[in-house]
């Protein structure tokens, strides 16, 4: 271990007189400057290989007419220029209209889901802040939905949402008599609420976990001082907890937003290949546009548009939240 470290440090400290190795001053310097880059090369190439190349290929695909006739050797697929994009954003034509509808569904779904996840997660974390008997058990219990495999968790919800013998209808209709007749949850307009329920159920433990970690960093003394000044629970949350959690929330909301917006597993397991219109999330919509109708070019174009949208949202979000924080700090 020690030998390696000294060996690595050696060239950095090599004496400037250029006596080492007897080579000239110049090549020695090139070697010295070049070595770190050489050592970075594998990492750089790997990054290219696993990260950038698939993305570039995806973008290239979006400019090709990649249908079932060309997928076997997609280098032969004709260039489509911006046709795929045109089809995707032509909102008067059926494909574009469906995409736009799916986009609005996704946006409202994401806003509701992230909002609820954050609210429930934060509330639970705040209530769990004080020690009490059974706190550890409750914390562990809260994290269960997050720890379950997605498929197993969502398929359980599918059974619960079934019309004829699902648990949800049994409770709402048979026991509580809240509805005049059993509702359909997996088809039709109610599917949006079914999807939202599962998404929030699955997502809030993450918010809970992160906020709980953030709460550990708020000094106890602040609360004690506030209590002495006569601040109640609500005042303490508003004046101490929430401002202190600001940096945590900034990241948490962004991550939840991106995950929810892009979520594929939940709607796919819940509804299968063709989601009901009310719950037609964009990720499944794109999947359907490419895999089910075998038009990978249009699918890629839609994905690229989605990527651009998320980039813009993320950028704007970060600029706004960071600026607000800087002025607050001053």
């Amino acid at each position: 271990m020690t030998t390696t470290t000294t060996a690595v440090q050696e060239p950095v400290r090599a004496n400037p007189s250029g006596t080492a190795g007897g080579s000239g001053r110049r090549p020695g310097r090139i070697r010295r400057i070049g070595l770190p880059y050489l050592l970075l090369l594998p990492a750089l190439l790997l990054e290219l290989l696993v990260h950038l190349i698939p993305m570039v290929i995806g973008v290239v695909m979006s400019f090709k007419e990649l249908t079932q006739f060309y997928i076997r050797d997609w280098t032969t697929a004709p260039w489509a220029a911006f046709d795929n994009y045109k089809t995707s954003v032509e909102f008067n034509a059926p494909v574009g209209k469906a995409l736009l509808h799916s986009f609005f569904v996704t946006v409202s779904f994401t806003l509701l889901s992230v909002g609820l996840c954050w609210l429930i997660g934060t509330a639970a974390a705040v209530f769990m802040q004080d020690t009490f008997r059974g706190r550890g058990l409750l914390r562990a219990l809260f994290l269960v939905p997050y720890a379950l495999p997605v498929y197993a968790a969502v398929i359980t919800w599918v059974f619960m949402f079934q019309h004829d013998n699902g648990l949800v209808n049994h409770v709402l209709h048979d026991q509580l008599h809240l509805t005049d007749k059993p509702s359909f949850w997996l088809i039709g307009d109610n599917s949006f609420y079914a999807l939202l329920t599962v998404s929030v159920w699955k997502g809030w433990p993450f918010a809970f976990l992160i906020v709980m970690a953030g709460l550990q960093n708020i000094p106890r003394e602040l609360y004690e001082a506030a209590a002495l000044d006569g601040a109640g629970m609500w005042q303490q949350i508003r004046r101490i907890t929430l401002p202190s959690l600001r940096p945590v929330n900034q990241v948490l909301v962004l991550v939840l937003f991106l995950w929810t917006f892009n979520d594929f597993n939940t709607p796919y397991v819940l509804f299968g290949k063709s989601a009901p219109e009310a719950a037609d999330l964009i990720s499944v919509h794109i999947y359907q546009a490419s895999f089910v109708t075998w038009n990978f070019g249009t699918g890629s174009a839609m994905s690229v548009l989605l990527l651009l949208f998320l980039l813009v949202v993320t950028g704007v979000y970060l600029v706004f939240t960071s600026r607000g924080r800087r002025t607050a700090d001053v």
Partner: protein
């Protein structure tokens, strides 16, 4: 100093290796070869009640093949929900099985990708000739005028399965022959508190299979003779409406079935909750769910009037499984031998008996095992009154778009909305607009 040099050399080597692999993969568009003559990979579709059952059925046969030829077959049973995606992925990457099962309705779509070995006269000669197979089965192996993309393996047809006890309790002497009779019988059955007819309203493919038959009975086709989608003509609209009306107006299909997509209707039938089921080769499935053969009867699917036949008297699609060879196979000869083995008389008898399907091979079909009352209904349907789904390149898109339209219509009925000619037409129009222009 030495370790730096070693690190530098390591870095360069690794970079080169990475660059090489990056350039290497992908391009694998060559035809078949015989580079690895001792092994084959076979993707089987899920024909039995579970994947485990399929393995139990197929493995002894594969062992037999190995004994005969010395070729080891690696078996993978792929569930239906994944099969088409897996085939598409294999097509795109060029990395796939050597031999595979495909749903016969996909033949023309997959043929268009060029991923499957065309069965020209020369290839057919290697497995005993094209005329060993039944014509109706050959009609579902690819677009007309092109060499088939696959060879028929199992044939199936739709039939009406009815619960004998429920029929007796309701005082119905014989199974319905026309839709009107079915609806009339339905009233008697409902009066006894049982549900009448099962359907998989959320299953896109099932919806297509039924609406296709209704369309035929209305004398309509979903595609024009030159292969263009024609979903909104009056007869198609009437056909789709008649099917959906079985739930909306005639109340023989319970509204709960609108969300069925995982064969729940088969379970309902097997549990004796429901009097009738329209299904393809259901015997093995029903048995595995605990319903003995003696409890139900099998009759042809109803028609509008008269008896089943050709033209508007069609009462089933030609359902079935085809066996295809992946063009990129590294064991072309072995793959052909395997197809020959699987379509041989002996194997056809064993496999089709196990899966309660009908052999598409003429000589195997004559075996006594396929003359039971159940099988003769299926065999007769296939021979006289079944029609192949459109063999066009955009068939799988058609299944998805129109199947989804029918699913939406059932969902609307379930939500209590009225289904009118206009609403049916609007859904079909939406489906047609999603079809590829070509």
């Amino acid at each position: 100093m030495r370790s730096i040099r070693a690190a530098a050399v390591g870095a360069v080597t690794m970079s080169l290796a990475l660059a090489a692999t990056a350039c290497g993969g992908g391009s694998s568009t060559g035809g078949g070869s015989n580079d690895s003559p001792k092994t084959l990979t076979y993707w089987a579709s899920n024909q039995g009640a579970s994947i485990e059952i399929d393995k139990k059925v197929l493995q002894p046969e594969l062992d037999k093949f190995q004994k005969q030829t010395g070729i080891k077959v690696k078996l993978e049973v792929v569930p239906w929900s994944d099969l088409l995606n897996r085939i598409l992925t294999a097509t795109t990457s060029g990395q796939g099985p050597d031999v595979l099962n495909i749903g016969n309705t996909w033949s023309a779509s997959l043929q268009a990708t060029g991923a499957l070995l065309p069965w020209d006269a020369k290839n057919f000669a290697k497995i005993g000739g094209k005329d060993r197979f039944v014509d109706s089965a050959l009609g579902s192996t690819g677009a007309e005028g092109k060499d088939p993309a696959a060879v028929p393996l199992y044939s199936m047809a739709y039939a009406l399965y009815y619960n004998k006890k429920i029929f007796a309790d309701a005082g119905i002497a014989k199974p319905p022959v026309t839709w009107d009779e079915l609806i009339a019988d339905g009233k008697k059955i409902s009066a006894k508190g049982k549900s009448v007819l099962g359907a998989e309203g959320g299953n896109v493919s099932e919806n297509i299979h039924h609406t296709f038959v209704f369309a035929k009975q209305h004398g309509a086709d979903f595609f024009t003779s030159d292969g263009k989608p024609d979903f909104t003509n009056d007869n198609i609209v009437a056909a789709v409406k008649q099917y959906v009306d079985l739930m909306a107006k005639d109340k023989v299909i319970p509204t709960g079935d609108a969300e069925y997509a995982q064969n729940q209707s088969v379970s309902d039938f097997a549990k004796g909750k429901q009097a009738m089921l329209l299904w393809q080769s259901a015997s093995a499935n029903l048995k595995s769910q605990g319903m003995p053969d003696s409890d139900y009867g099998i009759a042809p699917v109803p028609v509008q009037s008269g008896t089943p036949g050709t033209g508007t008297q069609v009462n089933s699609m030609v359902a079935g499984i085809n066996l295809a060879v992946f063009k990129n196979t590294k064991n072309l000869d072995g793959a052909t031998k395997f197809v020959k083995f699987m379509t041989s008389d002996d194997e056809q008898k064993i496999l089709n008996t196990a899966y309660s399907s009908i052999p598409p091979v003429k000589t195997a079909q004559e075996d006594a095992a396929f003359n039971t009352p159940a099988n003769s209904v299926l065999k007769n349907t296939l021979a006289t009154s079944a029609s192949a789904l459109p063999q066009v390149a955009s068939e799988s898109q058609f299944e998805t778009t129109v199947g989804t339209a029918v699913k939406n219509l059932f969902a609307a009925v379930a939500a209590g909305k009225a289904v009118t000619t206009d609403s049916v037409k609007a859904e079909l129009e939406k489906a047609q607009q999603q079809m590829p222009a070509a």
